[in-house]
Structures are given as C-alpha cells and as structure tokens.
C-alpha cells in the first residue's frame, strides 16, 4: 500500500513538474514566422460554460481586431479539449450572427478558398487530429474587427466524488514543425471573462480553481453554483458587480482547471437523460453509473517498471521528472522492486534488471538518470516494448508510462501498440501530460491493458491527482464490464467495449432506444475472479425534449469507437465513410469534417442545407428551458437502487473548527474570565 501511494505521489508530482516547460505555446492567433504579415489582435475573449445533467457546454466568443491598413485573414488555434464535440460555430456578418454547417473536410476547404478569393466573408473550423482546433476567418477588414463564437459539448466525469473541468489553453510544444512555422499571439488586449454556471443533481460542498484562487465562486444553493473570472474590461462591459480581477488573464497560456466536490455519503447511483422528440421515433439516452464503493483494498506488493520519456520535448522538464522518481523511490518498501527504462529514439534500461529499493540502489540510479539529457525523437514503442519484456511473470507488476508527446519514430501506428499490450498480462497506467500528448493512443493502450490513463494539466492540483491515482491502485478493479438492457429495444451502445472500472470512476454509456417503457438494466464485471452483477429497473420516457445535445454526444462517442476500430484494423474506406456520415448527420467537426460559415445567401446558392442552423436553434431553446427549470434530479434508480454502498470519495478528510464553534466558546471564555475575577 505504501509502495503504491508513494510511487503515485511522486509520479504525479513529477508529471505536474514536467509540464512546467518554458517553451510552451498557447492558444492564440497565428502568423507565419518568416512572413511580413502584421499580427492581428485578440480584442476580447469570453468563455461561458454551463455544466448540468452530466455534460458541459462551452461557448467561446472572441473579437479579433485588425489595426493595420490592409485586410487580413485571422487564424486562431487552440488545444482540443478532452472528448469535445464542436457543433456550433458562428460568425457575425454585417452585424448579424450566422451559424455554420458541417461539410466534408476537403469540400469545406475548397469553398473557403473560393469565397476568400471572391472577397466574401467566410470562416472555417477544422480539427487537426487530437492536437488543435484551427479557426480561419476572412476578412478582418483594415481598421475593423470581427466577432466569432464556437460552442463545444463534452461529457463531464466525476471521479471519487470530485468533478473536474478543464478549459485548455496551454500547448505542450511537442509539434516542432508547427512551432517553428508559426508565431503565436496569445494576448487578450481588452475584455477577458470566464463564467461557469453549474447545476447538479447532487449537493456540492465546494468549488476550487487551483491556479485561479481569485475566482469569484458563488453558491446559489447546494446544487447550483457560479464561478467567474472577469477582468476590468469585461466587468465594465457586463456592468458586473462581482469581484473585478485586474489582469487575471492577459495571455491565453494557462489552462483553467475547475474542481467541485460532492457532499460526502451520497449513494452509488444511476442517472439518465434522454432525448426523444416524438413517440415511435428513435430516442437517445445517456446513462451515467456512479458505482458504490465496494471494491476491496489490495495489500500485496508489486514490481514497478517506470518507462520515462526523455525525448527532446522533455527538455526543461526532465530534471523535475528525476526529482519525482527520486522522491518516490526513496519511500518504497525495501521489499518492492523497480526498473527504470528511458526512451527517446532508442530505449535503454538504466537499471540492471529489477533492483530492490535499498537507499544505495536508489542513489546510484538517480545519479545515473541525472547524467541523461533529453534529446531526439520519440520511439514510444521501443520504450514500452522494453518495459513489457522486463516483467517478472511470477510477481504482481505495474507499468507506469510517463510521456508528454507523440510517437514519431519506430512503430507509430496505434494498432502496433495495442497488439503489443494484448500479448502481455500487464496493467498499464499512463500519465498523459499536457494538451498535446497523443491522448487517443495513450488512453486506448491503458484501456486494452485494463489499466487507466490520468490526464494531467499544469493547472491541476498536485495533491488531488496523487490521491486520485492512489485511490485506484490501492483497490481492486471491476474488469470485463458489460451493460445490458431488457424490456425495451436498445441499440447502438457506445462505448462498444467498456473494459475496466477502477475505484471512483463513473461509467457513461450512450445508446438509442425506440419505445419507452420499463427497462431492466444490468451491469456486470469481474473483481478478483468473481463475477458481480448489479441490477435496476427504470422507465425510459416516450418523449423527452430537454436534452437535444445528447444526440451529438452519442455521435461523438460512436465516432470514437469507429476511429479506434480504424486505428486497430488500418485504413478502411467503409469505416471512414461511416464516420463522415455520422459527423455530417449530427453536425460535428472531426478529422473528416469541418464547419464552414458563409454569407446567408451563399448557403442557398451553393446548395447547402441549413441542417445545423435548425439543430442549434433547437438546442438553444432547450438550454433556455433548462435554465428556467433550475437544477434537476436525474437519478433513475431511486426505486430499485443499483448499489447498496455509498459512492467512493477521495478517501481523504479533515475537520475544521468554524465560526459556530468559536461563538460557543465566547460564553465559555466569559465564564472563565469572570471566575478568575478578571472582568470585575
């Protein structure tokens, strides 16, 4: 137990430390480095987040200004938020907002160029794989400004009763070509605001923004909270009476991380939101299972294999990484063993086989680590393969991979990594550093090995991440998890393969259903070789119109499944077409589709149906209706609870004296002083 928690402690510490890179770039307007083009300005940047009913809707509204004498094109890039589905893109043309439509990527690009050449207003949002969303807007007229807004949706996970939302702004700086080609302008010249409205089925104890302690956090009720970061300009614009924060964010170079903590002692539960416009038609549901805390602690010792990235992008971070490893190793149980493997363009072992965690061994290998200097590319496969080959089959083991980048040397296909992990019985625990890591690859690897991946932002709370990881590794996990339905017709479940559930993790499942009615829902899995079943029964509604966004969330999850299949089995035109069809039908920006905004009359002239416009209007109406209703309770297993146990919490606690207790002490002090005759 000590081994696990100390290892995780140091690893998370090192992970956070490693993101402190002076070379990071941020979200911002891009200008080619060697060009004579003048830079545009970000005049305003407003972020509005609504978190309710298990998902977050983030709207980013910006004003770009052109202080120069010639018309220019604005190109804005920002990191892809975790599991974000972009479904709304608006460009103010002639002072009126015009929403975008989704087309196949190539077609959208061609239309963008065509409109640009014709001098007409046009804007385009593309996704660059897992790395960035890139927005191009033309024209930003000389001496004028343009206003655009982008909205994305993402499911919100609660882990061990702690919720986390990240507005990503930092870039890890791992794409050297992009870095050398572009100059970034990430300064917001005037108004910046970040407003988060939170409505929950469950009572919330507290909110926390570890890197932004100045944030104005307002509790409206146990279930409704507001968070605001507003600079002076934005406060004047809004006429805000909130705490005005001078220069809170002038540069878009730091992630905004928001945590919230549910009250203690809440039950394990099943929540569901649905969308079904008419009886008899297909409906969509989003099922959120928060398991009860019934997974037993693990007490046996393990072997630990550290696989550490020391490629060029780790420059400036590697010393922090060594400090973290040192810290962890010095606290290991002497009976635990460790190996350390480094990889850049080659992999090599620093240790000589497994070493016991004796002080002299630790000192020796830390010294050896310090003699290494990060450089070169990243052969992740070589590092991982060496780590796997080094395992001792007779002992419990865990492989901990820490990387901030992408596999760009040796085997780089996802398929190769997944096959490697499938051949071995090892749990892979991955720390995904920053916003530029190949998150899809690392998460898939963790999933196929029944391990887990933890995303770490520079804005994260170190202690919180330590505790999150520790809590999982100190308890058994539920493996081969499956969810089944009977009583109603359900299909298109996603994720297709759930894998494992570690302590504190929620399970979010999307699917379609046809007729409403009572359904029997069963969740099964294996813990320590024993099969466990959890069941409940609840009603699927015949009609439900409050959550149209979950159609897009289902589509996004389905596309992730298809993309995984594509990565695993290689290029497949049918799968690619399926992804494109789902993305176009649900108006989502993906690697295969982009969103384009044109002058209103041009949509008709080019024969582009305004499907997304209708969808966006429907979603905006639903949002207003939800706002009017306030917080809702989406729990569906109240009558027949799926879990007997309370949900897991982070397993830490404290108690504090408070003002009430101190008020009670006043009469006590009075009595004491009177008895001592001090008051007389």
């Amino acid at each position: 137990m000590k081994t696990i928690h100390t290892l995780l402690l140091s690893l998370t510490a090192l992970c956070i430390g490693t993101i402190w890179s002076p070379a990071t770039i941020a979200a911002g307007l891009m200008t080619p480095t060697m060009s004579n083009l003048p830079q545009l300005e970000i005049r305003q940047h407003h972020v509005n987040v609504v978190i309710e009913d298990g998902y977050a809707i983030t709207t980013v509204e910006q004003v770009f200004a052109n202080p120069h004498a010639t018309d220019l094109e604005a190109i804005y890039s920002f990191p892809v938020p975790e599991k974000a589905a972009v479904g709304e893109f608006t460009y103010w043309i002639d002072g009126l907002p015009v929403t975008g439509e989704v087309l196949e990527k190539q077609q959208a690009r061609e239309i963008y160029q065509q409109e640009k050449q014709a001098g007409r207003e046009v804007a385009l949002t593309e996704q660059d794989s897992y790395k960035t969303f890139d927005i191009a807007v033309y024209p930003v007229r000389a001496g004028q400004d343009v206003r655009i807004s982008l909205t994305y949706i993402q499911p919100v996970h609660i882990d061990s009763s702690i919720g986390r939302f990240v507005y990503p702004l930092e870039d890890g700086g791992v794409d050297e070509q992009k870095l050398s080609f572009w100059t970034y302008n990430d300064a917001v010249e005037e108004a910046f605001s970040f407003n988060l409205s939170f409505r929950s089925s469950w009572p919330i104890d507290d909110f926390r923004l570890p890197q932004h302690p100045q944030a104005n956090i307002q509790k409206l009720s146990d279930n409704e909270w507001n968070v605001a970061l507003v600079n002076e300009f934005a406060a004047i614009e809004e006429g805000s009476t909130n705490t005005v924060l001078p220069s809170v964010v002038q540069r878009l170079d730091q992630d905004i991380v928001v945590y919230w903590r549910q009250q203690q002692g809440l039950p394990g539960s099943v929540e569901m939101v649905t969308y079904k416009e008419n009886p008899g038609e297909r409906g969509t549901f989003m099922l959120t299972v928060t398991p009860g805390d019934d997974l037993a602690p693990i007490t046996e010792g393990r072997d630990w294999v550290f696989v550490l990235d020391f490629s060029g992008s780790m420059e400036g971070k590697f010393q922090s990484l060594i400090e973290g490893v040192k810290k962890g190793l010095t606290r290991l149980n002497p009976n635990d063993r460790f190996r350390i493997i480094l990889f850049n363009k080659h992999a090599r072992e620093v240790t000589h086989g497994f070493e016991y965690a004796a002080p002299e061994n630790i000192q020796h290998y830390i010294h050896q680590l310090e003699n290494n200097h990060p450089n070169s590319g990243t052969d992740l496969f070589a590092g991982l393969n060496m780590g796997i080959q080094s395992l001792d089959a007779d002992r419990s083991n865990a492989l901990i991979l820490v990387t901030d980048g992408v596999a760009n040397l040796g085997y780089t296909e996802k398929k190769d990594f997944l096959e490697l992990l499938e051949q071995t019985d090892v749990r892979l625990f991955t720390f995904v550093l920053g916003n530029s890591s190949n998150r899809p690859l690392l998460e898939s690897m963790a999933k196929v090995s029944n391990g887990f991946a933890i995303n770490v932002s520079n804005g994260d709370d170190i202690a919180g991440k330590i505790i999150e990881a520790t809590s999982k590794l100190t308890h058994e996990a539920l493996h081969d998890v499956d969810v089944s339905f009977s009583g109603i017709k359900v299909s298109d479940l996603t994720p297709e393969r759930i894998g494992s559930l570690y302590r504190g993790q929620q399970l979010i499942v999307f699917g379609h259903y046809w007729d409403g009615g009572m359904a029997n829902v069963s969740l099964s899995g294996k813990a320590s070789g024993e099969t466990r079943n959890y069941t409940s029964s609840f009603e699927f509604p015949e009609t439900s119109t409050l959550h149209p966004e979950i159609e897009r969330l289902w589509a996004f999850a389905k596309i992730e499944d298809l993309q995984n299949r594509l990565d695993y089995f290689g290029g497949d035109a049918d799968i690619e077409q399926a992804i494109t069809d789902i993305a176009v039908e649900n108006n989502l920006v993906t690697d295969y589709t982009s969103m384009i905004v044109l002058r209103e009359e041009r949509y008709q002239e080019l024969g582009i149906d305004r499907l997304n416009k209708s969808r966006v209007e429907k979603e905006q109406l639903a949002r207003q209706e939800r706002l009017a209703q306030g917080a809702r309770n989406n729990r569906v297993d109240t009558q027949q609870p799926m879990y007997a146990e309370q949900r897991a919490s982070h397993g830490n606690g404290g108690g504090a004296f408070d003002i009430w207790m101190l008020l009670l002490l006043l009469p006590l002090m009075f009595l004491h002083l009177r008895t001592r005759n001090i008051l007389q």
């Binding site: 137990m1 000590k2 081994t3 928690h5 402690l9 510490a13 009763s161 104890d205 507290d206 926390r208 903590r261 009250q263 203690q264 002692g265 805390d293 810290k327 606290r331 149980n333 202690a463 330590i466 505790i467 520790t470 809590s471 100190t474 919490s649 982070h650 397993g651 830490n652 606690g653 404290g654 108690g655 504090a656 004296f657 408070d658 003002i659 009430w660 207790m661 101190l662 009670l664 002490l665 009469p667 006590l668 002090m669 009595l671 004491h672 008895t675 001592r676 001090i678």
Partner: protein
C-alpha cells in the same frame, strides 16, 4: 502557577502548526495515512493532526487552539498536555480502523474537541453554571448534525469534512475527565 502566566505551550503548539504549514512543501508525506502507518511511517500518527489542507483550515483550527489551549493551560499545563495526547490517540485509533475508510486525514479539529470537552468539564466543576450545560448540548448537537448530514457547518475547506473525528475527539475527553475525577492531579488545578 498563576492565571496570568504566558501560555507558552499553546503558543508553542500554534507556532508548530504555522511553521509546518508554511515550510513543508510535500504535505502528503505528513498527512495521516493508515496504510503509511501500517508500513512503518509512524510519524504520521502525530504529524497528520498538525497538517492542514489549506489556510482557512489552518486559521480556524488555530483560533480554536488559541482559545481552548489558553483556557486549559491557565488551569494546568499537564491537563492540556494530557488532553492533547489523549485526543491524538483516540482520533488516530478511529482513523486506523477500516471503518474510517480514509486514505488521508489532516487537521487538529478532532483533538480540539477533546480539549473542548475537558475545558467545559473543568468550567462546570468550578462554576456549576447552567450555561456550560447549554454550551455542551450545542456542541454535541453540532457534531450530531455534521455526522448525520456529512457536512461541515459554516466552513468550507478543500478536503471533504470528516465529522467522525469530532466524535472521536469528544470520546477522547472522557478518559481525561475520568482521570481528573478519580485521581488527584499532582499539579493542583487552579480554580
């Protein structure tokens, strides 16, 4: 021993709390952790009660310690030490049981509840005031509400509240009160 002396022990404890909070960067190594203690990190039994999750947590508990520590130390430094030690032992005993289900614990409030009940008992012995009974009932009611609702009242720290430590702290006062009743303390209590 007079009631006008400087409460050096209380001041020392307060200084220790502030010093640890400001100087220790890796607080996780000092938090109370049953797993760590069973693996030989015995210091956590004591250090966990001296560590605090954030500044608000520290300040509230220091205010409590300043008042209760001074009240007890004016009467007897030995009683303050005995109450402090017993509080640590009883609260730690609770946290070491599987029932606690905590990976980490920090904060002095459990121990402060021991000091509180001992201080109330001593005041009752010297004044027989009904006000003491009212204060005691209010304190117990507060703890009952916290335990039953799983919330901390009127304070928000960055860690979840663990109200059972307050119950343990109150229980920890009982052996001290029993000892004060049964045995004549060597150091005469100032009345």
């Amino acid at each position: 021993m007079t009631s006008k002396r400087i409460p050096v022990l209380t001041i020392g404890l307060l200084t220790t709390l502030f010093t640890l909070h400001w100087l220790v960067t890796d607080k996780t190594a000092l938090y109370f952790s049953a797993a760590g203690i069973f693996d030989g990190e015995a210091w956590r039994i004591i250090s966990g009660h001296f560590m605090h999750a954030d500044l608000q947590h520290l300040l509230w508990n220091c205010l409590g310690l300043a008042v209760l520590g001074t009240l007890l130390e004016f009467r007897s430094r030995t009683v303050l030490l005995a109450s402090f030690g017993t509080g640590i032992v009883v609260v730690s005993a609770l946290l070491l049981t599987p029932y606690a289900k905590l990976d980490y614990y920090c904060g002095l409030s459990g121990v402060l509840n021991t000091l509180l009940l001992v201080a109330l008992w001593l005041e009752w012995k010297s004044t027989r005031s009904r006000l003491i009974i009212l204060i005691t009932c209010a304190c117990i009611a507060k703890v009952v509400i916290e335990v039953s609702q799983g919330v901390s009242i009127m304070t928000h720290i960055t860690w979840p509240p663990y109200a059972w430590s307050h119950v343990a702290g109150l229980i920890g006062a009982l052996p001290v009160i029993w000892a004060l009743t049964e045995f004549k303390p060597k150091a005469r209590l100032i009345r």
